[in-house]
Amino acid sequence: MKSAILSPTTLRTVRLAVKELREILRDRRTIVTLVLMPLFIYPMLGVIVRRVLLTGMETAGTAVFRIVMESDEEAAILRQQLESGSALLPSPPPQNTPGSPLQTLMKSPRRSRPEFEVYPPAPGATPESELLKGYADLAIRIDILDGSPPVCDWFILHRADAAASVQARNHVIECLRALNEQWLRRTLEAHGIDLVLPVRITERSLVSSEQPASPLVTFIPLVLVLMTMTGAVYPAIDLTAGERERGTMEILMAAPVPRRTLLAGKFVAVLTVALLTATVNMVSMFATLFTLGLDRTVLGSSGLRTIPLILLLMVVFAAFFSAVLLSITSVARSFKEAQAWLIPLMLLSLTPGVFSLMPGLEMGPVLTVTPLVNIVLSGRDLLQGHFDLLRFTVVLISTAVYSVSALALAARVFGSDAVLYGSSSSWSSLRHRHGPPRTAAPPESALLTLALVFPLFLVIGSVPTRLTDSLSGVLLLNIGVFLLVFAGVPLIVLKATGTRLPGGLGLNRPIPRTAAAAAICLGLSMWAILYEISVVIGLDAEADNLRRSLETLTEGLRQTPLTIRLAALAVAPAVCEELFFRGFLQTSLRERLKPSAAVVATALLFGLFHIFVRDGLFVERLIPSTIMGILLGWMRERSGTVLPGMLLHVMHNGLLIGLVDFQKTLEQYGIGLAQQTHLPVMTTLACAGLAAAGIAFLAAAHPPNERPRRFLRPDGTDTSS
């Protein structure tokens, strides 16, 4: 019956997946990590969140302000006048609906007015010192002046930098004004004058039934995504690299079952565990919110209705991430090597995920199809009550397409000869040297370095502005940051892995003439090409670059010497980025990938790097930076050295700075970069011609035969000899 419905391959896949799941789930560590941890953590967090919220509300409802006064007599006057004044104030409007969950939870009436606690200064202390030390919210002195009635002269001291002090001061002033107003009114009435004020105020407050979600809600999708990733990592490694390490992969490979069927079984198993993790996390999280009565407070009026859609997002994401994981862990030859490969992936995934939490980040067309970010932002929008069917569908479809692509890639590498029977490597390759010096850093070491360099640059990059106020100083320190991060870190790794230094950084060859000519032509023209591409495809990245440069070029910065500006903003980034990306990383990736694949992979990472800036996420920079990266990578391949790429990159950056400097002059010639309009036709044509010449020079350059292919006999002799 069953077999009539499902094909034999499907049934085989299911049986394989069941076996894999049986193995995974029998390991109690898996159960504890995936199931018990969320069941424990969320209720604990929920209790803490509720406590914090309640404490906040209680504090607001029962505010007691402390006033320091010198004498009891003054204190008695203060109490009497404040009580009289407070009684004259209108009742405050209700801030919560009668049935709001938190008020129900509190089960205590909300006190409408603050209270005052008056006390004398401590021996040796003055009212001012009590106030400045934060013991008191206000310091008040009342002088009683003769008259009929006697006039109370209030001197009120408050701290402008303390919210409670300001609040107390406002309330005291309101009370006293109310007293004065009442006296005025009575006096006028006593003289037979009917007081009619020119302005009448009627106040009414409304509470919307559509309660907005708490800002906390933005974290929920990211937490779910992270948990799903965590759930998928262990089974993905265990079912691929782990099997190979334990020697069971050969059992599978020796069986007459197609590799893609074996992979499909593993994919279903990893996906199931990832979904199980996501579901347990979701259920635990939302059940905690519901049972503690926090669902409306945290999720807003959309409440728990969004759960099915969130679950759908998680299903698609789990499929995508499981496929990506399998495509990576299938390449690894051991458990440790798989972990080494996954660390950069996790960091690369985490960074956009965390950046996507930034307030005010809108999900534009690019972000809608950006993996992971689109899931986090969709989840955020759903929980905030914004559902756009078209955007949601695009997110689902694009993620599904990425899943299929990653799975196709995994099918190509899973169980391949090279992976099964190649030499093994592990973390130890980071520090152990084997045999003669390497010509490039091991790829897993290079990827780990990349994972380190991304956050390191974001953190260390902020240091110069904290060390000095001088703009020249900041710029000079920036040079140091670039050298330290993009040259220093790879140098340490090259040294640790026993890699030859000039070759490991792509510096083992002088600059060929044709490549130098190509670099000059492209360095002079690429700014215009990238700018036009950005304008044509609707991205304002290059224009945005210029605009941001303009913004940063304040008068102070303009006054810094051009040499410093060029060194810090053009030369240092170009040289260091070329050393790191094309020199260190691309050279290393060529050890494992074909040259063209190494160029594209490095260019994509280069593009990703340019997305992240300290102030936010500029996804629009991905395409122009990646195009530039491909060009620079190709140049490194054709010339055999990073030097022409450096030249190109320096010229490109230098020209951008020059263009900004001479912006007003350029505008006179119709080059309105900041307005993001097309360049004059002649400028575009000239630059296109230069770029074409550059590409022709590059195509004519003879790629160096760095590693000639030759056959070796097992005894090590060369077959060509």
Binding site: T248, E250, L252, L420, R707, R713
Partner: protein, 251 residues
């Protein structure tokens, strides 16, 4: 009857330095049914690579192998159905019981569950693992795992057996189990190829031998034929002479 025929099998690998290394260089031999063929040589001689090509795990760079007339290059899946493989590593699934693991492997070879249970029953008596049939593989001793691994290779009743260093890491008792296992296979008329670098052991169980060195097959024949060809007494002497021979190493 010739069951296994290796015909100029050659395998080249690319190293990380982008150089190609010839791991197996035009290796040819034949194995009859009921015959145990010892593929001998030091570590790195190319024995395991030859075996993996014959099994369809590795695609030959050139040449071919035929199992029961079926080409490994043309139809590797059919070859896999005909071959039982015992690997160097005793790979078992840590969290499955012995029975579950054997049922799983039987399923991979499309053995019906009932037939598979009968085979498990038969093999558990032959290889003496009935006592830990329902025990998790992860807690078994090395010798017990070896028995499970031997049974696993026979679960689909293949006419051809390929064994790669099956005695590595085993004590005398474990090696004796392998010896008895080979006798069993031989008595059942299976064609067996066994790779080993332990030449003393090979003399005990092999009918014919192939001596590999540096990827190439240097000598083939029965022990008597090899003794006649080289004038040496044992396999060890023959092999040491072969390795030291200047005309061999330089070729």
């Amino acid at each position: 009857m010739t069951v296994i025929r290796a015909d100029h099998l050659t395998k080249r690998f690319s190293t990380s330095e982008n150089r190609d290394v010839v791991a197996v260089d035009s290796v040819s031999f034949e194995v009859q049914s009921g015959e145990v063929f010892g593929l001998l040589g030091p570590n790195g001689a190319g024995k395991t690579t030859t075996l993996r090509m014959m099994l369809g795990l590795l695609r030959p760079s050139s040449g071919d192998a035929r199992i029961n007339g079926c080409s490994v290059s043309a139809d590797p899946d059919q070859v896999k159905r005909l071959v039982g493989f015992v690997s160097t590593s005793v790979g078992v699934y840590q969290w499955l019981t012995t029975e579950e693991m054997l049922l799983f492997v039987g399923d991979l070879y499309n053995v019906p569950p009932e037939t598979c249970r009968e085979r498990i029953d038969h093999l558990s008596r032959l290889l003496d693992f009935s006592s830990f049939l329902h025990r998790r593989c992860g807690v078994l001793s090395t010798g017990q795992k070896q028995r499970v691994s031997l049974a696993r290779a026979l679960i689909h009743d293949p006419p051809v057996m390929l064994l790669d260093e099956p005695t590595r890491g085993l004590d005398i008792v474990g090696s004796q189990v392998i010896f008895e296992y080979l006798q069993l296979l031989k008595s059942e008329g299976r064609a067996v190829v066994i790779c080993t670098h332990r030449l003393d052991e090979a003399e005990r169980f092999g009918d014919r031998f192939g001596l590999m060195h540096q990827g190439a097959m240097r000598l083939t024949g029965t022990l008597a034929e090899l003794q006649q060809q080289t004038g040496k007494k044992g396999l060890t002497d023959i092999f040491i002479d072969l390795i030291r021979s200047p005309q061999e190493t330089g070729s």
